[in-house]
């Protein structure tokens, strides 16, 4: 029997597969396709201090092997999420990770503090990397000092383990990772989307109403692998990897690069069953490459 279990701060995962934030809503829609208890965990869509409508449409565009999105953090606000969405997800036997977003340090603190009041949330993912709203935290995600500061502040108001979600839109990803580790982060999630743009030929203007959007899907996988590989050589906190995962081989690649678990985003749109299918295929893929457990494979690709 291949052991798929992984223990991370605050998260006892029966397998390393979870849906990525923003690509799975709050689980309701996908629960009509399969039993969410099959998942390793679930990461909820971003929460802000109060309700947000988000950007104008169009909000998505297809690209070669990927897509751009500029949803703009649309969500009903942290209180409403705790009231209506968290209890629903709590019906399933899976750890719940809340994605915390904001435009000021105070907003991050408020959202984190509010999640801390429910015992149904197991960890926070600090989204300092949303490229789609002007004040969407991206400034925190591109400056190591600001990232460290917001991490420290949130750590103070919450007892929950904090996974800081890193933006790939930086020249020195290792500096970002080291800064938030030093500030007390319990783990990292990476990567968020890469900032991009598509021009619509018929009207000759940017296609997305927001003009720029975040690139996700298979196109960004090599960027994610490279960044995790580099970061894992300099930090000791665990990494939840993501970026273009669409099958069990991709998962193994992330594990080898140093990720302890992974999140699947865009691939849910093409195949709503992608997470349970990967979970089912993973043991055979691990075995094929000589591993008896997920734990065995973590970081084994790093050549020093």
């Amino acid at each position: 029997m291949t052991n798929l279990a992984v223990d991370l701060p605050g998260l006892k995962l029966k397998n390393p597969i979870m849906p990525a934030s923003g690509c799975f809503g709050f689980g309701r829609e996908y629960s009509e396709f399969y039993d969410l208890s099959k998942l390793g965990a679930v990461i909820m869509k971003a929460a802000t201090g109060s309700e947000r409508f988000g950007n104008n449409t169009p909000r998505v565009a297809e690209t070669a092997s990927g897509m751009l999105n500029a949803i703009g953090l649309q969500n009903p606000g942290v209180e409403k999420i705790i009231e209506t969405e968290v209890p629903y997800l709590a019906n399933y036997d899976i750890p719940i990770i809340a994605n915390v977003a904001g435009s000021t340090i105070e907003e991050y603190e408020l959202v984190a503090k509010t999640f801390n009041q429910t015992d149904q949330v197991h960890a926070l993912e600090l989204n300092i990397s949303c490229p789609n709203v002007k004040e969407g935290g991206i400034q925190f995600g591109t400056d190591p000092d600001m990232a460290a500061n917001v991490t420290k502040k949130v750590k103070k108001v919450s007892d929950l383990p904090i996974y800081v979600k890193l933006s790939p839109n930086v020249s020195d990803i290792v500096a970002m990772a080291k800064a938030v580790e030093a500030a007390g982060a319990d783990g990292l999630t990476m990567i968020n989307t890469l900032s991009g743009m598509q021009i619509h030929l018929p009207n000759k203007h940017p296609l997305l109403a927001n003009k720029t959007g975040g690139l996700s899907g298979p196109a960004i996988k090599p960027v994610a692998i490279r960044m995790i590989y580099e970061v894992k050589q300099h930090v000791s906190i665990p990494v939840i990897g993501m970026g273009g995962i669409s099958n069990a081989e991709d998962v193994l690649e992330f594990l080898l690069a140093g990720a302890s678990a992974v999140a699947v985003g865009t691939a849910n749109f093409q195949n709503p069953f992608i997470c349970p299918e990967i979970i089912e295929e993973l043991p055979a893929v691990l075995k094929k490459y000589g591993f008896n457990s997920v734990q065995d494979a973590i970081g084994k690709g790093i050549v020093v």
Partner: protein, 251 residues
């Protein structure tokens, strides 16, 4: 309920300029589909699925028909699929047209271009229930006109082309004056057309089907939302729609 299903292509036919009719076999979809719902179609080599309306259903043959226009790489690729091949869809998706309104004895169908397909299955169902059907269908030009005969079988039909090469010249709104009174209207087409219609027929009870670029197609990703008022209220086109009451959303 939306399921992930395999559709078997029974036939592929070009029925107008760049316009393809595909008859697809699938028991579940043919039984579950109601007029106005769509299929979220997986096309090889494409990250995102493409929403295509259900244009007709034959429950005894267990088939559904889709009609689509070749617009970009996805629909182009799909048009090259051949009889006997299968592809994956999510469906039947969304909320269809409300056809239970017994008061509506006579209905007007207003379709623009590739918004015409969902109105055909709707009209067929309404006609079966004994409602009087009047159709106004707009196309770019003579060579893009399709299903004229089929709509005529349902009731009086008016064709309009933008360039006047067939039927009346102009937009669907140009012929609304010619149409006799009706109880309720149903419309699908480009947003500017829907906006013009909802303004023109403000006093009438109506349903409109909207288009927007979609991600997941099941209501999870918030790509295809439309405001319902100015205070942040919204609906998801893929899940709450694509059909809305004409007064429900802000175009």
């Amino acid at each position: 309920m939306i399921k992930k299903e395999e559709m078997l292509i029974k036939s592929v036919k070009s029925i107008a300029l760049d316009t393809i009719e595909m008859v697809l076999n699938n028991r579940y979809i043919s039984r579950a589909a109601v007029p106005g719902q769509f299929l979220h179609v997986d096309i090889q080599g494409h990250t995102l699925r493409r929403p295509i309306s259900i244009a007709d259903v034959d429950k005894s043959e267990e088939t559904v028909t889709i009609l689509f226009k070749i617009m970009g790489s996805g629909t182009k690729h799909l048009s090259a699929y051949q009889t006997g091949m299968t592809f994956s869809v999510l469906g039947p998706s969304g909320n269809g047209f409300n056809i239970d309104n017994r008061e509506a004895k006579s209905v007007l169908l207003i379709g623009g271009g590739i918004g015409v397909p969902p109105l055909y299955y709707l009209g067929k169902r309404l006609a079966e229930e004994g409602r009087e059907i009047i159709s106004v269908l707009g196309f770019q030009s003579a060579e893009s006109v399709f299903y004229e005969q089929k709509f005529q079988e349902l009731g009086e039909s008016f064709i309009v082309t933008n360039d006047g090469s067939y039927g009346d010249k102009g937009f669907v709104t140009n012929v609304l004056g010619k149409v006799k009174d009706f109880d309720c209207y149903y419309s699908c087409g480009p947003s500017p057309m829907l906006k013009a219609i909802t303004e023109r027929l403000e006093h009438k009870h109506g349903y409109i089907s909207l288009e927007e670029r979609m991600g997941c197609g099941v209501g999870a990703c918030f790509a295809c939302v439309i405001p319902t008022d100015t205070s942040g209220g919204y609906k998801k086109i893929c899940k709450d729609g694509p059909v809305f009451s004409s007064r429900e959303v802000t175009l």
